[in-house]
Amino acid sequence: MHRERSRFLSIMLFVGFTFLYVPIILLIIYSFNYSKLVPVWGGWSTRWYGVLFESPDVWDAVLLSLKIAVVNATFATILGTLAGLAMVRFGRFRGRTLFGGMLVAPLVMPEVITGLSLLVFFISLKQLFGWPTERGFTTITIAHITFSLAYVAVIIQARLTGMGNNLEEAAADLGAKPFKVMTKITIPMLAPGLLSGWLLAFTLSLDDLVIASFVTGPGSNTLPILIFSRIRLGLRPDINALATIIILFVAVLVAIAAVILFKQQKRDLLDQKMARMPEV
């Protein structure tokens, strides 16, 4: 009985992983294809990696994407944290429900609508104030901040609710003024939430194609825009190479995260063991 079930489970596991990873493995294999035509196998080669390294527009796009992602993640984390604090710690204030609803609206809003509305917004801004003079880094960053701060706010809200008021009250009770409570207790306790918020905002920004393509201007291509525009003209082996590099990059990050998580679990276990130990 037990063995049968575990065999069924292993088969399902295998099928699931196949479904998830075979396409990715194929992509990686084809990035080493010598042939210019993607579906035709022309033997192993790193030819397209060479091509990739010699195309400056790809590196411009990578750089732009990373720049936007970092600036976006930083601002979204700051603003999202403030919004989360307002929602959880300020008690009831006028318009709290409305504020809460509007805060999470970007999560459910179709990207096309968000992108379109932001484009209209930037155009009217330019007509009224003459700024932004051209669309590109600034407009994409602003657009990304508007929706990724919503994700950060949700994470921070959850973390704050989970933490409860007690630690902050205890700090105040011990004589810490509100600013001290914030820097010594709230922020350190929020740190994991801040980090995951930042990383999520960073990833969202790197991923985004739809909104960025609405609010970008001539000459400013983020990596997703670049890839998508090249793919439109047909599959290209150098893009496969680029994708492989990105996959490798992500895999390394995931591995690091797993190691950190593992170490933390081990530490928690040790802590529990220590707590159970009879007094020395």
């Binding site: 630690l167 009250e169 205890a170 011990l174 004589g175 810490a176």
Partner: protein
């Protein structure tokens, strides 16, 4: 109907001085707290003197924690005043109050070591480094955690965390230490042991404690005085003995310990005795209060104050009824008997098991006919 009984003599034996001429350390004046339509604390008044270990006792939602949080400054009273050491606390934020609180779940800072947790409060007050480390050493010695300085809260057992929380709150030498269910998170054995530790520590440091608890045994053991709360109001304030032996009304008699309660009518009054007619017969009640003939009263009878015997008691007493043993609960040290009277009323009786069953001469068992009897001074006259 029944006037408040005068404070019994024996209550003076314990507790610190409560001189009328000395200003109380804590004065609560007509404090009310409302959350929307809900009144959590309803117009309460209380004086607590220096050196007391005062318990706020009540069931969940009775307002005891809200009152404690108002003392700490986390909630502002909707009306009324809180005065600590002569100073009105209305506009004083928590971080400037001469109070410290020990939280129910201890609220230790998980990202700091034991040492850092304790020094946190001292640092806010700008003590020098050497003074801080001296004080930490002293307080850790007091709670017997000298060797745990560098540990983080996660690396401590429940009892150790409790002591760190106590040390952290005490190290600032507050005028008033507020404790929210200080022993609630500990298991029974540890709780009993810790009760006495807590009393010893309070004795050593001399700080005034205000403890919130729902556990009446804890309140009885710990405190010099108890205020029993219900629905946002104090029902009775007094020493543990006063509360247990002289409850003012049925709520207290039933909430603290257990009591058999009868409704009755006063049919005779004499200098210090009343004769009361109840559903189960006529009884004598000793009293020291003014009650008029014909008034409607309640009498309460503690199960352990009733005697149980198979033979009719030698001493002829008026307070005597015949009954049948309906049920027995064996608790080891004592047994609880349910005695069914003729009219079907069940009376709870508790008797100590002083002799092991094998050697018992008058073994009482199910369906035995028994006499229950009690002294006229044992029954408690209750208001409402």
């Amino acid at each position: 109907m029944v006037n408040k009984p005068p404070a019994p003599e024996q209550s003076k034996e314990q507790g610190p001085s409560q001189d009328a001429d000395q200003e109380p350390l804590l004065q609560i004046r007509a404090v009310t707290k409302k959350f929307g339509d809900f009144t959590a604390v309803n117009d309460v008044n209380l004086d607590i003197h220096k050196g007391e270990l005062f318990c706020l006792l009540g069931g969940s939602g009775c307002g005891k924690t809200t009152l404690l949080r108002m003392l700490a400054g986390f909630e502002a009273p909707s009306s009324g005043k809180i005065i600590i050491d002569g100073k009105d606390m209305s506009d004083v934020p928590p971080y400037q109050r001469p109070t410290n609180m020990m939280f129910q779940n201890y609220a230790l800072f998980p990202h700091m070591s034991v040492e850092k947790n304790i020094s946190f409060g001292l640092q806010q007050d700008g003590f020098s480094k050497s003074e801080i480390s001296d004080r930490i050493d002293d307080i850790l010695r007091l709670v017997e955690l000298q060797d745990y300085k560098k540990r983080r809260p996660q690396q401590l057992s429940g009892g150790q965390r409790q002591r760190v929380a106590l040390a952290r709150a005490l190290v600032k030498e507050p005028k008033l230490l507020l404790l929210d269910e200080p022993l609630g998170a500990l298991d029974k054995k540890l709780r009993e042991q810790t009760q006495f530790e807590l009393m010893n520590i309070q004795d050593k440091v001399g700080v005034t404690f205000v403890v919130v608890t729902h556990d009446q045994e804890e309140a009885m053991t710990l405190s010099t005085r108890i205020a029993v709360m219900d629905q946002g109001k104090f029902v009775q304030i007094g020493t543990p003995t006063e509360i247990y032996e002289f409850p003012e009304n049925r709520f207290i008699a039933d909430f603290i310990g257990s009591a058999n309660i009868f409704e009755g009518k006063v049919i005779e009054t004499s200098a210090n005795h009343l004769r009361i007619k109840t559903e189960i017969g006529h009884f004598d009640v000793e009293h020291n209060i003014e009650v008029s003939k014909g008034s409607h009263v309640y009498i309460g009878l503690r199960p352990e104050k009733i005697h149980l015997s198979k033979q009719a008691p030698e001493k002829k007493t008026e307070n005597q009824i015949l009954g049948v043993i309906d049920d027995i609960g064996y608790l080891g040290n004592t047994s609880r008997y349910k005695v069914r009277l003729e009219n079907g009323r069940i009376i709870d009786v508790t008797a100590p098991n002083q002799v092991r069953p094998k050697n018992r001469t008058h073994h009482i068992t199910w369906e035995d006919n028994v006499y229950i009897h009690w002294d006229a001074s044992s029954s408690m006259l209750l208001n409402k």
